[in-house]
Symmetry: C2
């Protein structure tokens, strides 16, 4: 009796392989401290000076934006975003110095990650071609 | 009139910050080609020679395990796993040479990612302490 080996499904048009990745920051006390969405929001607040305008620009609900800010302010040692109360122009939301440092560091890590993924994507494509 | 700035919530016990990340492989033709769960499964199949035993060991349903294998076999250029049909012992699932190369490369990328995350976690903790 012979043994035949086959794959579960016949060959189909194959796409290219893409190695992807993402990062985030958790608090050891539990919960997410920062995600890609949070950093996008920080950048927009820094550019626009307004939480509601930043949320609108990113198509986030105000509630979602507020919760992202609340989580990061709560989980970092000091707030990343502060809100002005009172004053002639009222409202106004700004990113703190810590917030700006966090944005810069997070973006740096993303650049390093993209570099790593680019290199290793090539490795996967190479071995994928070598054995097809 | 004075302007007062405050954060959305008063200070609470802060945990340490942990930078986390994960990787996966997509097909440019659409769909997931490989995830952490898929690599765990490949390793268990390689060790046990059986899809159902590998699934049991990882507490995956047989259906989930089968779908992971089907997706990777379908999206890589050649199968990562083959199933023997017939023969005295019947069944039997094995990881191909390509499958082994994929496991090794994926684990290498994870090691590089963990190294990056470790370094940059330290950076986040440093700036977090410096401004608290």
């Amino acid at each position: 009796m012979t043994t035949r080996r086959k794959s579960a499904r016949p060959a189909a048009p194959k796409g290219d392989l893409l190695l992807r990745g993402r990062i985030w920051i958790e608090s050891s006390a539990g919960g997410m401290a920062l995600t890609d969405a949070g950093v996008d929001l920080l950048e927009q607040i820094d550019a626009l000076g307004s939480l509601s305008e930043a949320a609108r620009r990113l198509h986030f609900s105000y509630r979602r934006a507020w919760m992202l800010i609340d989580a990061m302010n709560h989980r970092f040692a000091a707030p990343l975003v502060t809100t002005a109360v009172g004053g002639k122009r009222g409202g106004g939301t700004r990113v703190t110095e810590l917030g700006r440092l966090v944005i810069r560091t997070y973006r740096d890590v993303q650049v390093r990650l993209e570099h790593l993924l680019g290199e290793e994507s090539a490795a996967f494509r190479r071995i994928n071609r070598s054995t097809s």
